[in-house]
Every structure is written in C-alpha cells, then in structure tokens.
C-alpha cells in the first residue's frame, strides 16, 4: 500500500501542474484534483484515527539525514478540517469564477493546498520554511485575483510581511542548526536545552509565525488583504492560512520548546491575544462592509487561540491539560468552518447585491435565504452559542481559567463574546428587516450549499460530535 502522507502533498501538486498545462479545462481538472486531494488527506486522518501516529521517511534515509513526514492527532485534526473546508471552497469556486479568472485561480489554489497539507505533515524545520514560502506566495497571488487596486496593494503588503516572517523563522532555524546540528523536529526536541540559544531561536521562529498569524498588533495587514480578495480566497485565507501559522506555533511550542518556556513568554502571547480579541471585535462591530467585518472577526478569533498559551502554560500536565488542548483545537477547527462559511455566504451576497455594505444589505440578504441562513449558522459558531463547537471550547477554557484563578482571561473572553454577539446581530438584523419575499431557499446550489454545509458543521457537527476529536488527539506521541 502506498504511503498516504506524501500523496496528500504530491496529488494537489500534480493537479496544479495539470491545470497549468491545460488551462482551458481548469475547472474540471481543478475540481478533480480537489477531490482526490481531499480523499488522500482524509485517508491520512482516518489512518491516524485507527492506527495511531504515522511517519514516512522520504527517500528512505530517515532522520537526521533525510526529511520525514509525520501525522499525529493534532496534525490529523487540522488536516481534516483544512481539506474539508478546501473542498467546500473548491466546489464554491467552481461556480464563482469566470473562465478567465479560473485559469489563474485553479493552479495557484492547488499549490496553496499542497503547501497547507505539506505544512501540517512536515516533521523538518527547514522543510517547514519551504512550505511557509509556498503558502505565502500562493496566498498573496490568489488574494490579488480580484485585480482591484486595493486588492493588489493589500496583498503586496501581505506578501512582504509574510517574507519578513519567513525570514525571522529561517534565522531561528539557522540558529537551531548551528547549536544542535539537526533539523528533524523530534531530534531537535531531544537536543534542546533551556538557555539563551533555544530562547532566541524560539523567539525568532514563533515571532515570525505570529506575524503570519496576524496576532495583534501585527494584524494590520490582514483586514485589507482578506476583505479585498475574491470570496473563496478570503475564505481560505481567513479559515486556513492564518490557522496554519497558528498550528505551527502551537506545534513548536508543545513539541520543541516546551522545556525552554517561561510563563512570561506565554503571558505575553496571551496579552497580545487579549488585545486581538478586544480590538478585533470592536473593529468588526464598527466595520461598514460585511467582508471587512469577517476579516476583523478573524483577528479577534485568532486572539482567543493565543489566550490558550498562558492557560496551557499554567496547567500542569494531566487530564485537565489534555482537555484544555483539545478545547483549543476545537476552537480553531470550528472557527475554520465558520469563517469559511461566513466568507462564502458574504461572497454570494456581494455578488447578488453588487456591494457588501452592511447597512444596505436588507434586500439582497432577503433574496438569498440560504446565504442568510449560512451567515446565521456561522454567526452562532463565531459568537459561541450552543450547540456550536465554539461554545464547548470556550466553556472549557473559561472553566480552566476559573480553576487556575486567572480571572482576567475570563473577563477578556466574555467581553469578546458580547462584542461578537453584537456584530453578528448587527448583520442579521439588517438581513431580516423586511417582509419575507417569495424567493426560493436555494438559488445556486454549487455556491450556496458549500457555505451552508460549512455553517452546519461549525454549529452542529463539531458541537455535538466533538467526542471523536478527543479520541483523535489522543493519537499523540510517535512510537
């Protein structure tokens, strides 16, 4: 049986090549590539689920000489979310892009997908640098596909900020290699000793990653870049690309630099996260455009994820810590589904109305009941109302904060939740401010169903069926 790990990276790559060579068939080939990619990645997740952590030594050399791919519960969970969201985005994009843009969208999109899968599965610090660059370049090019001046300028800035982040990460890798002489994550983890070298390398690597994850106050590039991209690209950028940077920061933190960490560093990340929650939510509430609202909401939601660091650092190893980690992952995954659903729905509204100014949305939202419903479902998950995955995740984080006596994180999360409720209801109240019109519920299945499904997964799927995630995450350590 062929190893599923390299296939999850190579298949989208080959798909991208096919679309590059035959641009006239971009849509059909692209959708086929999307389908087999998602199948191969979900195979990885189910194998991790049934057999435990996987490892593939590429080239047969093994660490430290060769590069390996690895999948444990954490990577399998992010991989599954990313590939489901990416599949939904692909179906949506199939109906969204006109022929001329589709030629450019599909190859870049499959390259981005390849980078995402490569990043979630990578087990080598330098290989991660290459996947980060592949991700950054393809994401910026995709974001500029709308072709407006705002989009091009915002995504140029995104490209440059991303390059700066990668450079910082690479400098950290160089220090690690100078000190420990290995690049494989597992071997580096064994070699790392607390001290200035490990501390500086960690700061450089995680610093570069939080720039890419748009953690407050380094978030300035995100709202214009995400709000001006084409809707399916916005969905992928907000739901997946920034999430990948967070995943990597979490991975390095847990697997490599755990012995190096002081609580001070964790608290610093938590404080920046708190700033992101408050500032991002506030700006989302004040946003005049729906997509800008969604982008600022991403800034806020990334903040919650970083609040997890001080909580994790303060919780002693054991069941409580495992539960907390699972809650953080659940939060990240739910946000992935919800935000992608929100952007896809916003894209339909924008396309129908010709704009996305929130105050003038009434009629358009009314004409698209499925889109409005998807926005509502995504909103439930973004606020954290039951039965969404966010509700469960936030509840567990709040509980742990209370047990630890760290009540200030609790206050921040409550404030963020209230603000989220305010900005979501602001949109929904516009959508429902007219008499219902007798349009059909679903108007264009290929674009509306993906958005709806993502919203449903975020609100019902992950909330009610969170149990499997706990089991998946237990597939931790490599044998």
């Amino acid at each position: 049986m062929i190893d599923a790990l390299p296939l999850a990276v190579t298949l989208p790559l080959i798909g991208a090549l096919a679309v590059t060579v035959w641009p006239a068939h971009a849509r059909g080939l692209g959708l086929a590539g999307a389908l087999i990619t998602a199948v191969s990645a979900l195979t990885v997740t189910t194998e991790v689920w049934s057999r435990g952590a996987l490892r593939a030594d590429l080239g047969g050399w093994g660490a430290p000489l060769g590069i390996a791919l690895e999948a444990d519960g954490l990577s399998a969970a992010f991989l599954a979310m990313a590939n489901l969201v990416a599949l939904a985005v692909s179906v949506y994009a199939g109906g969204y892009f006109k022929r001329e843009t589709a030629r450019h969208f599909w190859p870049l999109w499959l390259l981005l997908w390849s980078a995402l899968n490569g990043l979630f599965l990578a087990a080598d610090l330098f290989n991660l640098y290459v996947t980060l660059e592949l991700l950054g370049l393809s994401a910026a090019a995709l974001g500029a596909l709308t072709g407006t001046r705002e989009a091009v300028a915002a995504n140029l800035r995104y490209l440059l900020v991303g390059l700066l982040g990668s450079m910082s990460y690479l400098l950290g890798v160089a220090l690690v290699y100078a000190a420990y002489g290995v690049l494989d994550i597992g071997l580096v983890a064994e070699a790392v000793e607390p001290g200035p070298v490990a501390w500086t390398a960690m700061t450089l690597m995680i610093g570069g990653l939080i720039l890419k994850a748009a953690l407050f106050p380094m978030h300035f590039w995100l709202p214009p870049a995400h709000a001006n991209a084409p809707a399916p690209v916005s969905a992928a950028l907000s739901a997946l690309v920034v999430k990948a940077a967070f995943y990597l920061a979490l991975r390095l933190w847990l697997d490599v630099f755990a012995p190096v960490l002081g609580e001070a560093a964790a608290n610093l990340l938590g404080i920046l996260g708190a700033g992101a929650v408050v500032w991002g939510s506030w700006r989302a509430l004040r946003a005049e455009r729906l997509k800008l609202l969604a982008a600022y909401s991403t800034v806020a939601q990334m903040g919650y994820l970083f609040i997890a660091f001080p909580l994790l650092a303060a919780t002693p190893p054991g069941l409580a810590r495992e539960n907390l980690l699972a809650a953080v992952v659940l939060l990240a995954l739910t946000h992935g589904f919800a935000k992608a659903g929100l952007f896809l729905a916003a894209g339909m509204v924008q396309k129908t109305a010709g704009h996305d100014r929130i105050d003038e949305l009434g009629g358009a939202a009314q004409a698209l009941p499925a889109a409005t419903f998807a926005i509502g479902l995504a909103g439930v998950a973004l606020i954290g109302l039951p039965p969404s995955g966010t509700f469960l995740a936030k509840w567990m984080m709040l509980e742990q904060a209370m047990i630890l006596g760290l009540w200030w994180w609790l206050v921040v999360m409550m404030v963020g939740t209230l603000l989220a409720a305010a900005y979501i209801f602001r949109v929904l109240s516009r959508a429902f401010n007219r008499e219902p019109t007798p349009y059909r519920f679903v108007n264009d299945a290929s674009t509306e169903l993906p958005a709806l499904l993502l919203g449903l997964i975020a609100t019902f799927g992950l909330g009610i069926a969170a149990q499997p995630l706990w089991r998946l995450l237990e597939q931790g350590a490599f044998g």
């Binding site: 190893d3 590059t20 080239g59």
Partner: protein, 227 residues
C-alpha cells in the same frame, strides 16, 4: 527633525536584537554539539548516486525540499501571469548588441549543459544551469526579442511545469513500485537524478526568463509581428 520611531525606537531595538543574536550565535557555535550532520552526510555521499555532496543533499537526501522549492518558483511565475500581460518589451537592439547576443546565447546554453552534467561530481547542477538558461533568455529580451526566446504560451506552460512534474511523478512511481516516495533504488539513483535535473534545468531556465518578462507572454501572432 527627530522622528522617535525611526531614530530612537527602531535603532535601539535593532541594537538589542543584535546583541541577543550575536550572543546566541557565539554560544551555539562554541557549544559542545560540534559536528552537526556534516559527517553523516559526507559519509553517505557515495550511496547517493552523485559525488558532489551538495547535489547529494539537494537531489537525494533532501530531495523533497527541492521538489517544493521548484513548486515555489512555479507559483511565482503563475502569480506573475495572473497579474497581467507582459509589457511591450525592449526596442530592437543595435546590430552590435545583436551580434554579441547571437554569440553569447549559444555559449550560455552550452555552459548550462556543461554545468548540468558536471553537477554530479563538481560544483554546479540544475539550479546553476537553469540560471544560465534564464540569463540567455534575459539577454534575448534585452536585445528586443519580445518573448525572450521562449515558445508560445501553450508550449511554454508544459515547459515550466516539466521540472516539478518529472520530480513528483518519479517520487510517486517509486512509491508505487514499493521503495517509498523518492527512494531511489541503488544503481538507478545516478540516472534518476540526471533525468530529474535535466527536466528541472529546462523548467528553471524557462521560468526565470518568463518571470523576467513580467507578465503573460504575448500571443503567437504578436510575436510574429515583432520578429
């Protein structure tokens, strides 16, 4: 005029960062771990199918990195193409330059072939060779060849995809026959590396030249007009 951010905050931050980095580098280099991967890598070079250690690492031990790196190069070109068509190009060169280019370009192409071949045992390899091909394209563009000597778009597309394609397909086929992804069978490594490198050289050269044009190549009929 003193701007506090530019004249105080950034410089002092950078000086502090520099101190931290310098100190860490000193500790890292003088630390006990010493030998890094060097000995392991150099010891395995004879098993890699090529005798140039850097080529061994690039095309065998860490071949997967190189595959993704070629994908990065392709991404950049596709991104450039998505941003618009190439500009009008340079004016037709004077006959002196034209003559120089006519002499130089074959020389560059020959050197590229040589560099590709020697990369197995001496400094050189696909990237240096590809860069020479790219340079030949840049010279042609400077001399007024509108498409930098590149073929029309429908033939250029397979050309720029070739490197990644051969690389990735080799990897997958090796996995299918049972060795594992990109695990070259003993004895075949030399030839597989040469095939991959040849494809990569062509793609790198074409991609760099196409990137220099700065946009989608002009359609066929426009090329004929300018020629």
């Amino acid at each position: 005029m003193i701007r506090p951010l530019e004249h105080i905050v950034i410089p002092s931050g950078l000086i502090a960062l520099g101190g931290l980095l310098g100190w860490s580098l000193f500790l890292a280099i003088t630390g006990e771990t010493g030998d890094r991967l060097a000995e392991i890598a150099l010891a395995r070079v004879p098993d890699s199918g090529v005798s140039n250690p850097v080529t061994s690492v690039l095309l065998n031990f860490r071949a997967y990195d190189t595959l993704l790196e070629l994908a990065v190069l392709l991404t950049a070109l596709l991104g450039i193409w998505s941003l618009g068509a190439a500009g009008p190009g340079f004016q037709k060169a004077a006959s002196v330059l034209e003559g120089m280019v006519a002499g130089f370009v074959p020389l560059l192409i020959l050197s590229a072939g040589y560099m590709l071949w020697v990369g197995a045992y001496a400094p050189g390899g696909a990237f240096q060779a590809g860069a020479l091909l790219g340079a030949a394209g840049v010279m042609l563009a400077l001399a007024g060849h509108r498409n930098a000597g590149l073929p029309s778009e429908d033939r250029l597309r397979p050309l720029v995809a070739l490197g990644v394609f051969v690389f990735a397909i080799t990897g997958v086929l090796l996995a299918v026959v049972g060795g594992g992804f990109l695990t070259y069978p003993a004895g075949l490594a030399k030839w597989l590396i040469l095939i991959i490198e040849t494809a990569a050289t062509l793609s790198i050269g074409a991609t760099l030249a196409a990137a220099y044009l700065g946009g989608r190549p002009a359609p066929e009929h426009a090329t004929r007009e300018s020629a």
